[in-house]
């Protein structure tokens, strides 16, 4: 198990990026990416070789639904970074709360079982929403670099 301790590209995305930039293969068509929430522990429990988001423990309260990420244009700097353009808000959660949200996970589908795991983001502050709560992140709160 090759675990990660902070937000970074997963193996699936690293391979895609390398293949595309070395002109080995064509990049996938443009489309939406979705930010999922995970309850995996902050340390030693997210494996960067996981291919699908369903390999992780996905938050499952009623009211929750993964949100469209809406990435910025990568910055002109090295390392170049990409982040969420707008405020992202989940919920309100209405039942089945109690679990603690620790990670954000970017995928190319809204369904964990078919979402390729692109990037994992460790939250600055873990959150345990109660019934009625929403969970909000500011623009640029989720930042990823190669």
């Amino acid at each position: 198990m090759s675990t990660i301790a902070a937000g970074q590209l997963m193996e699936y995305a690293e391979k895609q990026a390398l293949a595309a930039t070395f002109l080995k293969t064509q990049s996938p068509a443009t489309g939406s990416t979705f930010l999922h929430l995970l309850t995996n522990a902050a340390s030693g429990s997210v494996d960067n070789t996981w291919v699908l988001i369903s390999s992780a423990t996905v938050y499952a309260a009623t009211g929750y639904s993964p949100v469209t990420f809406g990435p910025t244009t990568p910055t002109s700097a090295s390392p170049s970074v990409i982040s969420n353009t707008s405020t992202l808000t989940f919920g309100p959660f209405t039942a089945g709360t109690g679990a603690t949200v620790i990670w954000g996970a970017l995928g190319d589908s809204a369904t964990p079982g078919s979402a390729n795991f692109i990037c994992a983001f460790l939250l600055t502050s873990s959150r345990t929403p109660a019934n009625g709560d929403s969970l909000q992140a500011a623009a640029s709160a989720f930042t990823c670099q190669v």
Binding site: G91, F93, G113
Partner: protein, 130 residues
């Protein structure tokens, strides 16, 4: 939007979606924990913010869970039945979770996606006539 995909949250109890399920008012629950608010204020302070930037951050950090709730009268779209670019993704999500997935815009202008049970949807959301 496709015809038949639009609804309005119209609960007989009159409460917000979150408020109803919390069983209490949400105005005393801050939307951001203190640790996050302190970090954001510290980051902004480093760039000597303008008054407008400071006011925008203060407004963001001053939000409560009530500000983020879906209030009665909110118009929603059942994304899986719409012509939204993510409709196929949301249809797959509905099938996987058994929940109804709704897109809406909150009072701050932020695009939201929220799931509700089919029972709650049938009881508290009314179709908007085209």
């Amino acid at each position: 939007m496709a015809q038949g995909d639009r609804y309005v949250y119209d609960p007989a109890h009159g409460a917000g979606l979150g408020e109803h399920h919390a069983g209490q008012l949400l105005a005393d629950r801050p939307a951001q924990p203190g640790q996050v608010a302190d970090a954001m204020r510290g980051t902004l302070a480093m760039i000597e913010p303008s008054k407008a930037q400071q006011a925008k951050l203060d407004a963001f950090l001053g939000r409560t869970m009530a500000d983020l709730d879906m209030t009665a009268g909110t118009q929603v779209v059942r994304l899986a039945q719409s012509d939204h670019p993510d409709a196929a993704h949301r249809a797959e999500e509905e099938q996987a979770t058994g929940l109804v997935v709704l897109g809406w815009t909150d009072r701050h202008g932020d695009e939201r996606v929220t799931s509700v049970t089919p029972e709650y949807f049938a009881e508290h959301f009314a179709a908007v006539q085209a």
